[in-house]
Amino acid sequence: MSGIQDALEAALRHRRDADELLLIADETAAAHLRWAGDALTTNGSVRSRRVTAAAVRDGAAGVHVGLVGHGGALGDALPGLVRAAERAARDAPPAADATRLPEPWRTPSWAEPPGGTSVDAFGDVLPGLADAFAAAGQRRLYGYTEHRVVTTYLAASTGARLRHAQSTGLFDLSVRDGDDSAWAGVTAPDLTGLDVPALAAELSATLARPGRRVELPPGRYEVLLTPNCVADLMLHLYLAAGARGALDGRTAFSRPDGRLPLGERLTALPLTLRSDPDHPLLPCAPFTVSRGTDDLTAVVDNGLPLRPTRWIDEGVLTALVQTRHTAEQTGAPLTPMVDNLVLEGGPDAPTLPEMVRSTRRGLLLTSLWYLRDVDPASLLLTGLTRDGVRLVEDGEIVGTVHNFRFNESPLSLLARATEAGRPVPALPREWGDYFTRMVMPPLRVPDFLMSAVSPAT
């Protein structure tokens, strides 16, 4: 057996009593480094392999699905995996959403081998870190970098043969100086050219900026949310935007009469939230990959081709994340989840520095943390500011404020936002391990509610 493709082809031939059989293989190579207080603390070079088998079986009462995963060496594991999936499909009652697999198609790259990576992918990052540590002086550096290549092969008895290789680099850096801190996160397919000393110096300059420490009470403030903050908030919105959850009556997109709120205006700003597998900065898988049915995806939808999708079009909700089952139930277009997300306003949007300059008094929030659902029915989240709340007065950053806790809903924030700036690549800080392909604008919200002061520095 030479490659993973041959192993999958052979495994498909082990199908016995399933009407359809689907196999997803993920070949992953990753390398990571972590540092704290100017010393490396953790590192690793990790290879892994995972094959998920779904057996689909027609029955009198509906379609039965058996889903079994295998992580590890292939050896002779795949025939057993296929048998286990077929057994599960025989044993299971029909699944509520199950249907036959989608129309098959092929990606031209099917025959290509998996991508790889190693510690070499860090290029100048290691010597750059050594230089940054040496130049840190009294400041302390904390952070993490990772390079990961996941190659996904999807093969089905229907004839589908799909391959996608996703290369993800992440570089996360905090600089601390006494009670003050600043954070930057960078994500890119390739980290080799990253200038670590320059990034560290840029963050250090933020800390060195003259200014006062300001104590402010809880209450409503005008805030400027950086693109990274907006990324965290919009990701929560995206992950809550499944038609499944809406129909179940559990989410902020549920309506008492059971309809979907498509066509409702969410914001007066001409904001568009969209996904596009062919986005030039954020390429991602052009087909659905679901290793388990949840609120956003269905196993039987594996291999669906993905297209550019507008979730919010110039302020109006136009689509929720659909499976074939929910699209059929609601009569809405089939708009499956796509692994990237863009939020943008109109042309000529100002940059974040321009938005700072046009602020009379407000708070610049540079990073959010520990966002958790408080009330899924309104998408109310709680969370905290982190690593840099700056006070802006008369167009200038004049000081640093302590952190705050807030209770806010991304939907309510969109509705109340008065200005969106120029979108740039952004990293949701809390989800850097999961969803990194985002382009987000800075947002101005005139009445952001700070619920309590956090003494954490």
Binding site: A39, G71, G72, D91, V299, L384, S412
Partner: protein, 501 residues
């Protein structure tokens, strides 16, 4: 046999892999080297309104080699279980250690641990959840759904059961060879109701905790599922009609089904020594407890005594040995309100000048580096203490709250906010209906200093978290937290509905 490790795991070439990797590491002069073979089996069954929504199962197996070489760590993992792959992983780990040693920083040292050749340990359970036919699992969850849906207050029911089995083989240069097997399950049922006044959604979830037991747990061994499910519809009906909370400062009687999570976040994570050293500063965060705080930091009132252990029966972090070959232990973290200890792995114990690690290293899978993870962390009950009803009777103006829900805490483990499944008003020592939208906010040491009443052993419950994330790459771990019902005086209660959030 109840104490045996699965044959299918023992059939892996464990000793040959260890010999291959460790002899290579010894040859190359590694100070410490360990080979770990880990197999993790996980399963999930989801039933919505009696219909199967999702069901899946996965088994993941691989090996990892971790070395300490020239004062730096190196780690490599591979799914291939051959001696050649083990040697390659060892070489990769050594190369990483050399590259990192060149960057500089203080050399890593490890606290010593005796060798345990040929040790085995298995968590107690009767029915392996992975041997229960899927039809039986779905039938039980569907039965739970049907029972609830018979009630008018219940619009929808989501019933879910997850299960995990972990097998670990650990071998190191000192001669330790440990084989372990753990099983845990977590059933959850979410009932969805509608508010009569506006048609809005209100949900109520079971509080039965995740535990290190087998499928027998779902049949009532260790938790009265039938009893809890029977009470759910009426409690949900009351919740859908609950008025918004009036914000203010109140006395809170907190049920162990919620308090465990506050202990997890404000004590468990805050007493991790790697956080005190700053190792999590860029991600999970630090702690207000400084490395020198043991014996000096007043954490809470004199009623507060908290123990760490790796031995609580059916505890999620209960284990024979950790992933650095350290035998399970129990030790106090807080005595009568004063911080007395931290959680240590071998590296942090050496940094703190301690003679021995507390055994807190854990890796989610073979793909993950062992890191400092929480043991079971539990609050002691009052000896001959009162029951929950007596604690409620002692409060004139407050709330009794139960069932964990939303949680969030800042990056020094100080300012936090928690909600609960149920907030019952207490007026003059009696329960007086539920309120909605409530959350409590406090600062960790102020909160624990406000602890003014503890329930007795009869109120003590071992709950826990089975999906706690930490580290980069982020890893999930499970830990249990036992506690009695407890009373906290004068805690800020906010209305998250937005009027005073």
């Amino acid at each position: 046999m109840p104490d045996e490790i699965d044959d299918s795991f023992l059939a892996l070439p464990l000793a040959r892999l260890a010999d291959a990797a460790l002899s290579r590491a010894r040859q190359r002069g590694a100070r410490y080297a360990a080979l770990r073979v880990q197999r993790v089996r996980s399963g999930r069954t989801v039933v919505h309104d009696g219909a199967l929504r999702a069901s899946e199962e996965e088994t993941e197996t691989g090996l990892a080699v971790r070395v300490l070489h020239r004062g730096a760590w190196g780690f490599a993992a591979t799914p291939e279980l051959t001696p050649e792959a083990a040697v390659r992983a060892c070489d990769d780990a050594l190369a990483l250690a050399r590259a990192c040693a060149d960057v500089g920083g203080a050399p890593v040292a490890l606290a010593p641990e005796p060798a345990y050749p040929g040790a085995t340990w298995r968590s107690p359970y009767r029915i392996n959840p992975f041997e229960v036919p899927e039809s039986e699992r779905v039938e039980l969850l569907s039965h739970w759904c049907a029972g609830l849906q018979a009630h008018e207050s219940v619009a929808h029911v989501l019933a879910r059961a997850t299960a995990a089995q972990e097998n670990t083989y650990y071998a190191d240069l000192d001669g330790t060879r440990v084989t372990q097997q753990r099983v845990r399950v977590h059933p959850q049922v979410l009932a969805v109701g509608r508010r009569p006044r506006d048609g809005g959604v209100q949900t109520l979830r079971t509080v039965g905790p995740p535990v290190a037991r087998g499928w027998e747990y779902l049949h009532g061994e260790g938790w009265d599922w039938a009893g809890e499910l029977a009470e759910l519809p009426a409690l949900l009906a009351e919740k859908t009609q609950a008025p918004a909370v009036r914000p203010g400062r109140y006395d809170l009687v907190i049920d162990p089904s919620q308090l465990w999570l506050t202990i997890h976040e404000s004590v468990g994570h805050a007493t991790e020594y790697d956080r005190a050293l700053g190792h999590e500063m860029s991600y999970a965060g630090g702690t207000f407890a400084t490395p020198d705080a043991a014996g000096r930091l007043r954490y809470g009132s004199a009623l507060m005594s908290v123990d760490a252990d790796r031995s609580a029966p059916h505890g999620l972090a209960t284990v024979g040995f950790d992933d650095e070959g350290v035998a399970a232990q129990s030790w106090p973290l807080i005595e009568a309100g004063v911080l007395v200890g931290f959680q240590h792995d071998r590296g942090s114990a050496a940094r703190a000048g301690l003679p021995r690690s507390a055994g807190c290293a854990y890796a989610e899978s073979y793909r993950h580096t062992p890191m400092a993870r929480m043991p079971n962390v539990s609050l002691r009950p009052a000896v001959d203490g009162p029951d929950t009803a007596a604690l409620i009777a002692g409060v004139t103006d407050g709330f009794y709250l139960a069932g964990s829900d939303s949680w969030s805490i800042d990056m020094r483990r100080r300012q936090f906010q928690f909600t609960a499944q149920r907030w019952h008003r207490i007026r003059n020592g009696r329960l007086a209906g539920q309120v909605s939208g409530a959350a409590y906010q406090a600062e960790t040491t102020a909160f624990w200093s406000a602890l003014c009443g503890l329930g007795g052993e009869g109120t003590w419950l071992l709950s826990g978290a089975d999906m706690c994330g930490k580290g980069q790459p982020v890893q999930a771990a499970a830990a249990s937290h036992g506690c009695p019902s407890a009373v906290f005086r004068g805690i800020d209660v906010v209305d998250t509905g937005g009027r005073d959030g």
